[in-house]
Amino acid sequence: MKPAEVKIQNIEKSYEGVKALYNISLDIQPGELFGFIGPDGAGKTTLFRIMASLLLPDAGKITVSGLDVVANYKELRHILGYMPGRFSLYPDLSVEENLRFFAGVHGTTIKQNYDLIKDIYQQIEPFKNRPAGKLSGGMKQKLALSCALIHKPALLLLDEPTTGVDAVSRQEFWNMLKHLKKEGITIVVSTPYMDEASLCDKVALMQKGQIMDIEKPAVIVEKFGYQLLSIKSNRMFALLHDLQQFEHSLSAYRFGDSIHYIPESPIKDFNILSYKLAERGHSEIVIKETQAVVEDCFILLMQQSEKAHGINS
């Protein structure tokens, strides 16, 4: 089967008067690894449920390889693999029974598509007789992914597969996705972890039901458009407040072991800045220019949209 193409046109959705999605439009190319990046409440799950034909939009249209998710939902479900954010397999069935069930529902067998899931399923196969509910978190995730893949879908929807997962398992999971991409499956994934954006071919940055930007991750960071300084001193907590209060400060926030500082206009001579900080009692001052990452861009976009709309939360 050919990897699916997804066209999302003007999707709107409200729950009891509360808007969850505002006029969402975008295209996902066949074979793309596409990421929806955003915190809880961005609308990611709502959009995934509409794409998976599990929820009706209030307005707009989504097609997957030409199939309308509302009118053609039966055909759609056979070319679609969906892994919801919450564990949704049968906890009282064994690992193997779950997999056999999902294969059977789609009119196939484990044997027929074993090649596709082999690398993932082999890691949990030693526990194939264990009830799925008794697996550890990482194993549950691998089984859920196997079940979503067993009918060889053209489109794989993964809703927050790495939330609450440790850094090592997250890295492993993304390696699995890279392998799957080679099998010719379009993969759509959502995540609240900004650092995972760089692992996607293209990303949509989402916040409060809206898309703030859609680009290749490299383009998102290129578009940042400000000088970004990474600053350290012996008093980090005070440093944050001092930088926030500087006259020409656009933004200052913690970033790992340093503060990211955006001046209103680029600073050429760091000595002046260093002197101003020393005046406020800082020592061991280190100022470096640094490259923005997706998280910097997300913060900037959020601040700009809050300024524009006066959203306050």
């Binding site: 550890s136 990482g138 440790d166």
Partner: protein, 252 residues
């Protein structure tokens, strides 16, 4: 912040917890001091939750000496509970109660008087700049606010130590940073903060961190010292190098 026996608020020696043959916590040793922000890291399945439950007096250890806020976990778990606050990843506020009612409920559980509850609710709402939202039903409040509220509620009885279990999961990058400012403020007033997180940049915000692998503490130091020791640029690198050596996370 000093590290002396006098201001030690958590004292753990040779903590072992077994479930049948499975050793969840394998001879843990560490101390945490007043006003310290202590990051408790580890892969899924490394044994963090078990250790946290023991420190909170919710589970008995198999062996070892453990004191929390000066009380013995075997004999004085009730006193421990009165002196600690706890906030979990999926916070424990009541969605169908108002903001104010949640404060009243938890204040009542901790035995505060009606006046104390009223005063503290007002103070906390002021510092959160949420006075106008006191009568809102919790479910109608944005997630970022809920998380800040949950932290304040966990502090309503002015505990010596507050345990935060993945407090910032799923939160936007700005709110996540505001949450950490609340943590710094609490620590600057002498409250000890014991926190778990999967965001490795947050590990940098802690005074000291421990990294658990397969039930043992494999590393414990300041983020700067750990990066130097493992010759790593970020805490992410340190964590991945240590956790990769673990057997349990590979199966888990």
């Amino acid at each position: 912040m000093e590290s002396t026996a006098n201001n030690r608020v958590i004292h753990v020696r040779e903590l072992v917890k077994k479930f049948g043959d499975f050793v969840a916590n394998d001879h843990l040793n560490f101390d945490v001091y007043a006003g310290e922000i202590f990051g408790f890291l580890g892969a899924n399945g490394a044994g963090k939750t078990t250790a946290m439950k023991i420190l909170c007096g919710l589970q008995r250890p198999s062996s070892g000496t453990i004191e929390v806020a000066g009380f013995d976990v075997y004999k004085q778990s009730d006193q421990i509970k009165k002196n600690i606050g706890y906030m979990s990843q999926r916070f424990s506020l009541y969605e169908d109660l108002t903001v104010k009612e949640n404060f009243q409920f938890y204040g009542g559980i901790y035995g505060l008087s009606a006046t104390e509850i009223k005063d503290r609710t007002r103070q906390m709402l002021e510092s959160l700049q949420m006075t106008t939202s006191a009568d809102m039903i919790l479910r109608d409040i944005p997630l970022g606010w809920k998380q800040k509220l949950a932290f304040s509620v966990a502090m309503v009885h002015r505990p010596k130590i507050v345990f935060l279990d993945e407090p910032t999961g799923g939160v936007d990058p700005i709110t996540r940073r505001q949450f950490w400012e609340m943590i710094y403020e609490a620590a600057s007033k002498g409250v000890t903060v014991f926190v778990t997180t999967h965001y490795m940049d947050e590990a940098e915000y802690c005074n000291r961190i421990s990294i658990m692998v397969d039930g043992r503490i494999e590393a414990l130091d300041s983020p700067a010292a750990l990066k130097a020791k493992y010759n790593a640029a970020t805490m992410d690198e340190v964590f991945i190098r240590l956790a990769r050596a673990g057997v349990r996370s590979m199966n888990g």
